[in-house]
């Protein structure tokens, strides 16, 4: 098993993440980039990210939420904000698969604005244009309540891999640990 840290996401690109730990992954990324973050979601979505839950991870004041009517607006908002370069991370919650054109436009916008994009998608909904795709899932551990398994399932410029990570709230850092029971 690898013990090295997971590769940091390439800036100026859009990435994808799926799985039950996707929100944690997005928030960890926001904490690591440590800049203004735009979170785009569709307004019908009843899942609400809870600022009191992640305030020790990333300050909620860095977050700006956008409620859109449909996925078209979500993509337009994400593209415009990536292109402007005013935010360091744009997280978009996608409900439908996006085509190659949309994915490529997001990549171009991210490259233009030097900011990172992250799409939270469902399983098997990935786009070919994404730079990397991650599958994140929480892992049971009796002592630790932050253990996660991050699986890199697509990488345009590197190898794939699996990491077990946990978040240390005191040092606000991510630690790579060996998988439980091994």
């Amino acid at each position: 098993m690898q013990r090295s840290a997971p590769p940091s996401l390439v800036k100026s690109r859009t990435h994808e993440v799926c799985g039950a730990g996707a929100y944690m992954f997005a928030l960890t990324l926001a904490a690591r980039l440590d800049g203004p973050t735009l979170w785009v979601r569709e307004s019908w979505d009843l899942r609400q990210i809870n600022p009191t839950g992640f305030s020790d991870l990333v300050s909620p004041s860095q977050l700006t939420m956008c409620n859109t009517e449909n996925q078209l607006d979500t993509l337009a908002v994400a593209e415009e904000s990536l292109r402007s370069g005013a935010v360091s991370l744009v997280v978009m919650q996608l409900s439908k698969p996006i085509g190659l054109t949309e994915g490529r436009r997001l990549q171009l916008a991210a490259r233009h604005g030097q900011s990172t994009g992250l799409a939270i998608i469902s399983e098997d909904m990935g786009s070919h244009a994404a730079e990397t795709r991650w599958r994140c899932a929480p892992v049971f551990d009796a002592e630790d309540s932050t253990l996660q398994m991050w699986e890199l399932i697509k990488n345009k410029s590197g190898t794939l891999g699996v990491w077990h990570v946990r978040w240390n709230a005191a040092s606000r850092r991510l630690f790579v640990v060996s998988p439980a029971g091994k």
Binding site: A20, G21, Y23, M24, L27, G35, P36, L38, S43, L46, R47, Q48, I49, N50, P51, T52, G53, F54, S55, D56, L57, S59, P60, S61, Q62, L63, T64, M65, C66, N67, T68, E69, D73, A76, V77, E80, S81, S84, G85, A86, V87, A137, P138, V139, F140, D141, A142, S145, T146, Q148, M149, W167
Partner: protein, 492 residues
Amino acid sequence: MFDGMQRRVVSLWFPRLASDRVLRLRPVDGPFALTLTQQNANRIYCLNTAALRQGLHPGMPYTDARAFCPDLQSHVAEPEQDQRFLSMLRRWATRYCPWVGLEGGNGLVLDITGSAHLFGGEGALLSNMRSRLLRAGLSVQIGCADTRGAAWALAHYGEGHAPTGETLAAIKSLPVAALRIEERVSVALQRLGLRHIGDLALAPRAPLSRRFGPTLLLRLDQALGKQPEAITPQAEAPHYAVRMTLPEPIGLLSDVMAGTERLLAQLCAKLMAQEMGARQLCLTLRRVDQDHQQVEQRLARPLRDPHRILSLFERGLTEIDAGFGIDMLRLEATQVEPVPAQQINHVLEGRKDELDDLISRLGSRIGLENIQRFLPADSHIPERSFLIAPAAYSTPSQAWATVNPRPIILFPPEPVFGSGPRPPKRFRWRRISLTTGHAIGPERIAPEWWLEDENWRSGLRDYWQVHTTQGRRLWLFYTPQNPGWFVQGEFA
């Protein structure tokens, strides 16, 4: 040189201002009345001449008026609109002289000292004024005299033009009510036999002032010019609109942008002088075929920087159809907010401005109120422990404090099967079979009785963090008063 110049005052009285205003927009033949609900009764507010001729009068109940005059047409009165119309008339009247004030709810008073000759004398000025107002469909009575009081008296009682220095001669035959005194006083004076202003002017002053107080004689002296009376001109409300008319129509985006840039420079200079910032802007483009197109721009923060605003207009202007060309641009700040001058800060805040501009641009697509940020709130109820506020109208707060761990995702409670106050060993949630590996709790949260909340009808809640052996870490609660288990959130 001007010391010897006699002051001249014109008083305008619009006896049927409210109905004239409505009839200007929608002319009606025959009797017409405006009604207003006063003291629980629908009463006549204003009438046109045809209705007055039928014997109706303002203040009578509307039902009575309908009985007298079955073909009466009516409309609901809007006193605020009437006031706005009167202030428009006031602005119009500044074409005659700069010193124009309001006289009650339906009159104007103009100090035309030294400006009458511009219109060819007083007579010509008054007839010019009258003909323009009549053409606009307004009935007006005009009085002109040396003093405000005398002009008012002439406008309301007799409509005359008192030559310079002959004020008393012009108003002496008018009734005492023309002195702007209370009804009670005027009735009492008539009982004494003092029916006209001339009678009053000759009467001994001391008994009058003893009986009626100082106001009566003050009004008389003001009318006759023995006491000064000021006219208060209203300050022009700052008007944040600029326009540009073009000799040749334009159609290229770059040309329209260049025009907008010039307008913005003017507007922002105005805003800067008044220490204001624009919150909402409206650019109206008139085409040669007289069609109008508008570009609205709402801003995330009050701004007066022309370059930043211009770049925000780019998106809206690309959607404009120029047709055969645009020959007028008008830019108005429809909503302004005070923006005091700020000390120059050495800390770079460029990033913040960029974010505000981004919010403005996104707001023009998805609506400014759909861009939100979290603010802390003082509550233990999970759903109410934070506020969601529009980002454009709030400032971020750093004061986030949590005592107990909270899930990072919240959703409406979803029931799961379970019994007893301990978390169930096994349960199904969203069609996944889950086994409890480790549970931390309970944390009791009581509903806030001072706020009515549908979701908290089931009473107290005991919250548990449940770590399932499958990995998912869920936030479950048990309601001891109405036994049942629910999932409300998910930890990472």
